[in-house]
């Protein structure tokens, strides 16, 4: 990556990282084809609703405490404003922090605007929003409509910078721009990095923690206190002032490799803030590798070893006990690659058998030019080969696979994906946040949750007996990748 080139429009993951959304085969084959350069996007001639970069860009950006996002588009594009506000409220209430009720405002573009443009109206809306809420920064997000009709948002932003005493950030995140919604994470990172992060003045005893929610904050707070380091959680509930100092931190860690790639590597490349070079702290292997890497960077190896020993004594015997119940159980994983690769590693730690792994997308590399850490770990540790697909959350493919293999459990993480399995009577674990597999304590909880779901199947059994899948019988007689790599069948 070239962090010295400031550009408000960031290339998509497809262009920057060689990301694909369509593949069917096995893990080893995917890695081989990545290495010999033969892997490329094959496309599908049938698809179902997925997600877009605007979703990820806006949800990340709007979670910054004192920043307001103005989404220049029709009103449907801000349909999730309530959900986003609620997510932020969960954190701010628990921290007793006051926030504005508004983090995302739309411009309700209409038919006239598609003909005549609405840059002037947008400007007025931004000024009104500023007067109402006095945010410390404003981000202006594009939409499919503003993109197609060619609204010059960068000029609007230039004008507003003259008028308002706060940073104004561009968020070029048109929904059609990328089929990889994770491109939206990078768009946020790019805007934050270019517009808010300042060059370092002094080193601070802080580690940047990139995450979605903050559900693991208790464990991290306790651990970091022991190490005499402060965590700075980004972006949910972070302030503009805190973001300015990201360059002064000791290191950056990310709870999800997909999420952290851009900002982690950018901070390392431009300001020498190390991006912790380990697999993510999910499961035992991941947690310990991550802890030791942090220990190295902050020079607290012995404290880390003490912590590991102390925690192992509490949790490992319990985890070993639960593992006995999970051994040999058949599992299918369907989620994004960030936590998906980690789930692959962890269920193998549990001794479970992977029947299939479907990841929503696949990054051939991350912004450091290397393959994702989790993939490197799996191939270097000679993991047992498994079937897999890159499936862009295509329900028809997932339902077909689940129907064929009928696993003991389906592990997933994307709103709506659980129904692919529960309606087939398959116990399902929905990974509601990125800390579900984090560290010893959560790994134990996760293992227990899997056992409980496998133990009492009443709900999914009842549901499957009384409902029907939305696909024709014909579909279940086909291969799951029937539509892949074809323009027509």
């Amino acid at each position: 990556m070239d962090v010295n080139v400031k550009n408000s429009v960031l290339g998509t993951r497809e262009k920057r990282l060689g990301t694909i959304i369509t593949y069917n085969g096995t893990f080893n084959d995917l890695v081989d084809k990545t290495n010999d350069g033969s892997i490329k996007e094959a496309g599908r001639c049938f698809s179902q609703g997925s997600a877009c970069p605007s979703l990820c860009a806006i949800s990340g950006m709007s979670s910054i405490r004192d920043l307001l996002v103005i989404n220049h588009g029709p009103t449907g594009c801000v349909s999730n404003a309530g959900t986003l506000a609620d997510g932020t409220r969960l954190i701010t209430n628990s921290l007793a922090v006051k926030t504005s009720s508004s983090s995302l405002i739309g411009t309700d573009m209409n038919e006239n605007d598609t003909v005549f443009g609405a840059c002037e109206a947008l400007k007025e809306i931004v000024l009104t929003a500023y007067k109402r809420h006095k945010p410390s920064a404003i981000a202006i997000a594009s939409s499919c409509v503003s993109g197609i009709i060619g609204e010059d948002l960068d000029s609007v932003i230039d004008d507003l910078r003259e008028e308002l005493p706060i940073p104004i950030l561009p968020l070029h995140c048109e929904g059609f721009k990328s089929q990889v919604w994770a491109s939206g994470f990078d768009i946020v990172d790019n805007a934050v990095f270019n517009e808010l992060v300042k060059p370092p003045k002094e080193k601070r005893n802080v580690i940047n923690v990139k995450n979605f929610s903050q559900f693991g904050r208790k464990v991290i707070d306790e651990l970091f206190t022991k190490l005499d380091i402060k965590p700075l959680y980004i972006y949910r509930n972070v302030t503009i002032e805190e973001l300015a100092h990201l360059s002064e931190s000791l290191a950056t860690v990310s709870m999800c490799e997909t999420l952290g790639s851009y900002i982690g590597n950018a901070l390392e490349e431009k300001y020498g803030v190390p991006y912790i070079n380990s697999i993510t702290p999910n499961g035992i292997v991941g947690f310990e590798a991550w802890l030791r890497e942090i220990g190295k960077v902050v020079n607290k190896q012995s404290e880390i070893e003490e912590y590991i020993e102390e925690q192992r004594a509490i949790y490992i015997p319990k985890i070993e006990e639960v593992k006995k119940k999970l051994k040999g159980k058949k599992v299918i994983i369907g989620m994004g690659p960030g936590l998906g690769w980690d789930a692959v590693r962890l269920v193998q730690e549990f001794g479970m058998e992977i029947q299939w792994t479907a990841l929503w997308h696949y990054d051939k590399q991350h912004d450091d030019g290397k393959a994702p850490q989790a993939v490197r770990y799996l191939s270097e540790s000679n993991t047992k080969n498994f079937n897999m697909s890159i499936s862009h959350i295509q329900g028809h493919e997932l339902s077909n696979i689940l129907n064929k293999y009928n696993p003991d459990i389906f592990i997933t993480r994307h709103p709506g994906a659980s129904t692919f399995a529960v309606k087939q009577g398959i116990p399902t674990y929905f990974m509601a946040n990125e800390y579900i597999m984090f560290g010893y304590k959560h790994t134990l909880q996760f293992a227990n949750s899997l056992v409980d779901r496998i133990t009492n199947r009443s709900f999914v059994r009842n549901l499957s007996k009384n409902t029907k899948l939305p696909y024709k019988e014909w579909w279940f007689e086909q291969e799951n990748d029937l539509f892949q790599g074809k323009k027509e069948i």
């Binding site: 179902q48 877009c52 979703l55 959900t83 309700d108 598609t114 579909w475 069948i489």
Partner: protein, 433 residues
């Protein structure tokens, strides 16, 4: 022209994909960008037989907005017909293909000519909200799917009321409206919710009349039905909640359908007897718990704001503060709707404000004269406002995030009691905290 949308209370026209989703075994096919279905899938009880990640979607990308997405749509429809088990496929267009100019109608017509059950409704987000999208979709179904018939079924009544899922209580509301109509000896016909689906859709032209229970949404649809099939319609202005309003509702229908007056009056009497049995038992709770004769503000679509204003004023004896209608009611309907709010018991009139900007609404509520803590009825967006003025809060409008609604309803006699239950529960909760 673009305008500020703070705290959105509706989605765009494509959001009415949820109207299609709510007709059994009818699936929407989205010709749109990849994220529309997930964003617009926000709501309560949305997994269903089909859901936003099941809807076929052409997932338009950069090259499609440059070169057009017609080929992609063709293959999406062709393969949806192979894969998705549905009785009817409704193609909905998003913003991108409408601006780019894909000829969606021609593509869909070709499929229909080949005998496939496919219809199309243009629903680009920039053309209107999901209330309008709902009407446009129903218009498309009427024009492209229904056929004129000479068969008329005596007593068959099509009921049109809520916009499914946008109204979190839609499922229970339709069932209760059916129940009320059945009590009069009529045969209700609705297309939304469990088991109604395609058979009921096909029966629409056979009805004796259309019953529209809504201030403005659906008026275009019943007029179209009249024009196309000669079916008359009764426009009842709002959902009936509680005894006073439900009895008026039943009597009005009885009159319109020329039913035996004595029979209708008996139905009303029996229902009222039961209703007032409960009200009598809880008269002390109402009178002695600081929830009698309260002031109230409702923030919702015209349907709910009007229906609950009628109930709280005419049934419970409350006093309306300013009322807020958030559905972006078309200008041509506004004067009429304002009049409905002037027709309240004891000469009471409620001031109505049409406003889509949540910030303005909340500032206005804060500054209204509620002297004692009021009852605030609205969406998730009103919750913290209600907390800040120590009001009792009940959520009825999208987005809802503090309660589950499965098949609950505020419609009818029992619905009124449910709303009263909610108010009492909120009061008890307040006393405990």
């Amino acid at each position: 022209m673009a305008r500020i949308t703070e705290q959105p209370r509706f989605k765009c026209a494509l959001g009415a994909m949820q109207t299609v989703q709510s007709i059994d075994r009818v699936v929407p096919i989205l010709h749109s960008s990849p994220g529309c279905s997930q964003k617009l899938g926000e709501g309560i009880g949305t997994s269903g037989y089909y859901s936003s990640h099941i809807f076929p979607n052409s997932n338009l990308g950069e090259s499609d907005v440059v070169f057009g997405g017609e080929k992609k749509l063709q293959s999406t429809i062709r393969n949806a017909l192979r894969v998705i088990d549905a009785d009817l496929y409704v193609v909905l267009t998003g913003c991108a293909p409408e601006i780019v100019g894909d000829d969606v109608e021609e593509i869909v017509n070709k499929f229909r000519e080949e005998g496939y059950p496919v219809v199309v409704a243009p629903t680009p987000g920039f053309k209107g909200n999901n209330y309008l999208g709902h009407e446009w979709i129903l218009d498309s179904l009427i024009k492209q799917y229904l056929t004129k018939t000479d068969i008329k079924t005596k007593g068959l009544v099509n009921i049109w009321a809520d916009v499914p899922i946008q109204d979190p209580f839609w499922a229970g509301n339709y069932r209760e409206l059916e129940n009320l109509i059945s009590q009069l000896g009529l045969i209700p016909n609705t297309i939304f919710g469990v088991g109604r689906g395609i058979d009921n859709l096909k029966k629409i032209p056979q009805a004796e009349f259309n019953l529209l229970v809504s201030p403005w949404i659906g008026l275009g649809n019943v007029k179209l039905l009249e024009e196309k099939f000669g079916t008359p319609y009764l426009h009842y202005k709002h959902l009936p909640i509680g005894a006073v309003e439900t009895s008026k509702f039943l009597l009005k229908i009885g009159e319109f359908a020329k039913l035996n007056k004595e029979l209708v009056e008996k139905v009303v009497r029996d229902n009222e007897k039961e209703y007032y049995y409960y009200l009598e038992r809880f008269a002390n709770s109402i009178a002695e718990n600081r929830i009698s004769t309260k002031r109230f503000a409702i923030v919702g679509d015209a349907q709910y704001t009007l229906a609950i204003t009628k109930f709280l004023t005419n049934d419970l004896g409350y006093i309306p503060l300013k009322q807020y209608i958030t559905d972006d009611t078309p200008l041509k309907h506004r004067e009429q709707i304002k009049k409905y709010f002037k027709d309240l018991n004891d000469g009471i009139e409620a001031e109505v404000i049409f406003e889509t900007d949540g910030y303005v609404i909340q500032e206005s509520i804060k500054n209204d004269d509620h002297y004692d803590y009021p009852v605030i009825i609205g969406s998730f967006w009103e919750k913290s406002l209600a907390d800040s003025i120590k009001g009792l809060f009940i959520s009825v409008a999208w987005p809802i995030r503090d309660r589950a609604v499965i098949n609950g309803t505020f419609v009818g006699y029992t619905g009124g009691l449910s709303l009263l239950e909610d108010i009492l529960t909120q009061q008890y909760d307040k006393q405990l905290s």
